[in-house]
């Protein structure tokens, strides 16, 4: 019984991490604050195949881990642009950019100093 349990757990863990082809990538995403961070990470993680997304405020770097068989950097960047944030390859459309809260309007350098909630 005990042995079967251990085996079961091992099997679960291995089957979950077996066939994936992981790629680690770091890209620059233009943004300001914690609110932006939540928005960017959420947009990235919701792309099918993205496993991990973490955006760093001071460096504006987004660390990504994704399954290369399921998605690519372009799709992820386009998803981020859709919520209003510029990356190297995709510039967000004006409409989605203007949808951002005032403190997140990163294209205006003065917003960095604003009160971020």
């Amino acid at each position: 019984m005990k042995l079967r349990l251990i085996l079961m757990i091992c099997l679960i863990s291995f089957s979950l991490s077996a066939q994936d082809k992981n790629k680690n990538e770091t890209i620059l995403v233009e943004a300001n604050c914690q609110m932006c961070q939540k928005r960017i990470e959420k947009a990235a993680i919701k792309v099918k195949g993205v496993k991990y997304a973490s955006w760093d405020i001071p460096s504006n770097q987004l660390t990504l881990i994704y399954n290369e068989n399921k998605t690519n950097l372009k799709d992820i960047q386009s998803a981020i642009a859709e919520v209003g944030h510029d990356t190297k390859e995709y510039i967000a459309e004006e409409a989605s950019y203007q949808n951002l809260p005032p403190c997140c309007l990163y294209r205006d350098p003065t917003t960095k100093e604003m009160d971020h909630h």
């Binding site: 349990l5 679960i12 863990s13 993680i45 496993k51 973490s54 881990i65």
Partner: protein, 748 residues
């Protein structure tokens, strides 16, 4: 001669104003922070309206030819104010530049409240940080909850003064108490274990109401209390605290931490306390508070290497605690176990060693594996009047946890196996009650978050236990953000445990009650395992009223026992333990408010309503000594810290305890055969702290300053060897007016 002089003067003026160029020189300097002059080398010097410039040399000296277009020199050096000088002589001498006036960065900061209730946690967790520990100055873990409404603190009996904690109307054995997430206070130490963790060692406490996580085991029923101890990597280098109160209790706390390499650090934590005075303010012939000594030593090792992903902890602790209680004139050398005087001694020795090793996979920050291992040896030798009770427990705990994701970090899981073994040697009046318990289990816990409104933790574990057989423990927690800053939570789960009836109810020994254990055919003391379902709902709303944060929350929990070991105090000369026949439940409702009234004046208020009922042999009754209503309020104010750290802090706490049912005693003249109700009462604590600098602070305070004490806390104290003697019916403090003073010194 005159002509020569005139000529020279003329030529100088002519040179300065005319076409011929002469060299102008000077030295450029500035004051440094020490108000000393230093040369400015590399400064630009040029004529006004002329781009050509020269640079000052290493001594700050410059030479520049006169210019036809201007007689004004401009001196430029970054971070200094530009200066423009009228040149009216060839050697300008010493020139001093003034720095640009630059305001230092202004930091505007606001401390979080010392009690935090998260909107995002799936479980109903209240996090209490170390600042809260300071409010109860003489404090170990059990006392630290006195300034905090999440957990109730009761005094167990009138003789030892042991503080017992409760949550959701259930005593501490129904809680899972962990230290750095490793089960700690259980079994033999369940009655006194919380007083073995000094408040000064604690970094934070996480109080989870309702079913906890499956990761730490199956035993939790009403909640989980996890204490995170100070970590050598982040703790102060040195800390010293001395405390003394008017009942001659003295405490010493010290921590010392050091880095051995930049990855390895170690800390030595030390605590000692003693109470030497024989106090009998209520003149019942019994000590109001025990004579005691404790020595408590811990050594922690912490290793962390962020590059390789390995982290590890090693911890060992040794504790020795001695208490003497009973009659004022009891002499332990001559009166021990005699009927001369009633007395009691309590010796505890404890050794703990625990370790944690964790590895975060390289390139997979969401995947980790961890191993926790702990060994505990706990030995308690005690006698109470003519009764002796000794218990030894050696325990091993091992837990292997693997955590990772399914698809993305929106779906996380933890899985693993654990093993637990307890070896008990228990003697009641020399008759052995030895037993061995061991269990092996596996768990899987899945966490989902939509990163916005909804999150969920669903866990299940299966354990095989040598007395409890094989069983599943399912647990589910849900969180939903119904609107902005408002979170609704729900939880349900099942817990199972074997009751260590004697160790958990040690206060019964402070009475002449006869111990009756009704045997069925199950193994632990002949009693069935306890099984309960706990479910609850909670709602938290944060809002800004007048631009200050207000937190409102309300929760309701119900614990329903399928089986319980009923502790029956209803017959005055007996205490009996038997399996539940009928129903036993506890309903708990709590409403909290926290608000910053004016800047730095923080109010917290809580009202609690309990309904704890059990079908006893005699009747369905309220749990004895359980207030149905409780009210708590804490008001704290602190002045703004001065640049060198000076500050005043004021803190006051009011507890109002509603009436409690006291089971009938033989001396009662009451008509109600199920006892009587205690009066309701109010306790008031207050404290003032003066922070003199970033390293030193003084505090003074009082507990129970309105002097409410139970009038006759011991029934039949004049005849302690008679059948009616009972010190276990304690509903209020025995000590009143405890005043203390102390200081804290810390070095960062």
């Amino acid at each position: 001669m005159k002509t020569v002089l005139f000529f020279i003067l003329f030529s100088i003026v002519g040179l300065l104003h005319g076409h011929a160029q002469i060299q102008i020189q000077g030295t450029l300097k500035a004051y440094n922070h020490g108000q000393k002059l230093f040369p400015l080398s590399g400064a630009k010097v040029s004529w006004l309206n002329n781009k050509d410039s020269v640079l000052t040399d290493i001594e700050g000296k410059f030479k520049i030819l006169t210019s036809p277009s201007s007689n004004r020199l401009v001196v430029h050096y970054s971070n200094f104010r530009n200066d423009t000088l009228l040149v009216n002589r060839p050697n300008l001498g010493l020139l001093i530049l003034k720095p640009e006036i630059e305001l230092q960065e202004v930091v505007i900061s606001k401390d979080n409240s010392s009690v935090q209730r998260s909107l995002f946690d799936v479980q109903n967790v209240v996090t209490v940080d170390s600042r809260e520990m300071l409010k109860a100055a003489c404090c170990n873990l059990s006392e630290s909850f006195e300034t905090n409404p999440a957990v109730d603190v009761n005094i167990a009996d009138a003789i030892t003064g042991t503080k017992q904690i409760q949550m959701l109307g259930l005593n501490s054995p129904y809680l899972l108490i962990t230290q750095d997430n490793i089960p700690s206070t259980r079994g033999a130490s369940s009655a006194h274990g919380l007083s073995f963790i000094p408040g000064n060692w604690i970094e934070s406490i996480q109080i989870t109401k309702g079913m906890g996580s499956v990761v730490n085991g199956y035993e939790s029923i009403s909640g989980q209390i996890n204490t995170t101890l100070r970590q050598p990597l982040t703790d102060q280098q040195f800390f010293l605290n001395l405390y003394g109160n008017n009942f001659a209790r003295f405490e010493l706390n010290s921590r010392w931490n050091t880095f051995l390499t930049n990855k390895l650090s170690t800390g030595i934590f030390f605590h000692a306390n003693t109470r030497m005075a024989r106090v009998d303010d209520n003149n019942d012939g019994f000590l109001d508070t025990p004579l005691s000594e404790q020595i408590n030593l811990m050594n922690r090792w912490q290793y962390g290497d962020p590059n390789s992903g390995w982290i590890s902890f090693l911890n060992w602790q040794y504790l020795r605690d001695h208490k003497q209680t009973g009659e004022m004139h009891f002499d332990k050398n001559s009166d021990k176990l005699s009927t001369e005087h009633w007395g009691s001694e309590h010796d505890s020795d404890r050794f703990d060693i625990s370790s944690k090793v964790g590895y975060v996979f390289a390139d997979l920050p969401y995947q980790s594996i961890g191993l926790q291992m702990a060994y505990t040896y706990h030995k308690q030798d005690a006698y109470y009047g003519l009764r002796t009770y000794d218990i030894q427990q050696s325990s091993f705990y091992g837990n292997l946890i693997f955590s990772s994701i399914i698809g993305s970090t929106m779906h996380k899981y933890k899985t693993g196996i654990n093993y637990m073994a307890d070896n008990y040697k228990e003697r009641l009046n020399s008759s052995p009650l030895d037993r061995r318990e061991n269990s092996m289990g596996a768990f899987f816990e899945y966490t989902y978050s939509d990163l916005d409104k909804f999150s969920m933790v669903a866990g299940i574990r299966f354990d095989i236990h040598n007395h409890l057989d094989g069983f599943f423990s399912p647990r589910l927690h849900l969180r939903y953000a119904i609107w902005d800053k408002g979170a609704l939570r729900a939880s349900i789960g099942r817990g199972k445990r074997s009751a260590k009836i004697l160790a958990e109810n040690q206060k019964l020994f402070n009475s002449s009650r006869e111990i009756l254990i009704e045997n069925s055919n199950a193994s632990a003391y002949g009693l069935q395992p306890e099984i309960a379902w706990n479910y609850g709902l909670s709602f938290t709303q944060k809002l800004y009223l007048n631009k200050r944060l207000m937190v409102l929350s309300a929760d309701f929990y119900r614990t329903q026992f399928e089986n319980q070991v009923v502790v029956d105090w209803e017959t005055p000369t007996e205490i009996s333990f038997y399996n539940l026949e009928g129903k036993s439940y506890s309903n708990s409702f709590q409403i909290d408010l926290s608000y910053e009234l004016i800047q730095n004046l923080q109010l917290r208020a809580t009202y609690k309503r309990y309904q704890v009922k059990t079908d006893y042999k005699a009747a369905k009754l309220d749990k004895p000594l359980q207030p149905k209503h409780r009210f708590f309020s804490n008001l704290s104010y602190q002045t703004v810290r001065s640049p060198i750290g000076k500050q005043w802090r004021f803190d006051t706490t009011i507890h109002w305890q509603g009436e409690q049912r006291i089971p009938r005693s033989n001396l009662d003249l009451f008509t109600n055969s199920f006892g009587t109700y205690s009066p309701s009462y109010v306790l008031l604590n207050a404290q003032i702290t003066r922070v003199l600098s970033n390293t030193f602070e003084l505090y003074i305070g009082g507990e129970n300053i309105t002097n409410y004490a139970q009038k006759e806390p011991i029934i039949a104290s004049n005849n302690p060897f008679g059948p009616n003697f009972d010190a276990s019916m304690n509903y209020a403090p025995v000590l009143s007016g405890v005043y203390y003073i102390g200081f804290r010194y810390k070095l960062n």
